[in-house]
Symmetry: C2
Subunit: 82 residues, 2 copies
């Protein structure tokens, strides 16, 4: 069993209007020191041991389902569970 | 300037129907080894230096805006930017 954490974010070249809106709300709360907010998705995935390499499983799931690879990029961390 | 990464997830006691739906889709793609998927939000925040401690700023923003503390929990990492 592995625990995998996947982070999906917009590519830097893609505008993030949701992040801009949240930044505006934060400024209205009085936190003028916030310079930028970008919003992404975060997945915690538990993977049972299988015959396939876990990296290939995770990358295929990300490419096909979790991330829109035209606009988004992802990175992941794999942790062995005791 | 600091880079802060904030992860907002449902508390373990809260059902995550979106994660369950994604898990179903992953199984239909043929990845039966996926045991669980939980979905959260991920924020990358750039914070200018200010007179307030950055931890207090981040926690106040999370409590008031980024997380619903009744159902969600959050953690954050602060990185110094060169």
């Amino acid at each position: 069993m592995h625990n995998v954490k996947v982070y999906v974010t917009y590519k830097d070249s893609v505008l993030d209007p949701q992040g801009e809106a949240v930044k505006g709300a934060v400024h209205r709360l009085g936190f003028e020191e916030i310079a930028e907010i970008r919003i992404g998705k975060y997945f915690e995935i538990k993977v049972n041991d299988s015959t396939q390499p876990i990296e290939r499983v995770i990358e295929e799931i990300c490419d096909k389902l979790l991330a829109n690879v035209n606009m988004e990029t992802y990175r992941y961390e794999i942790e062995e569970e005791a």
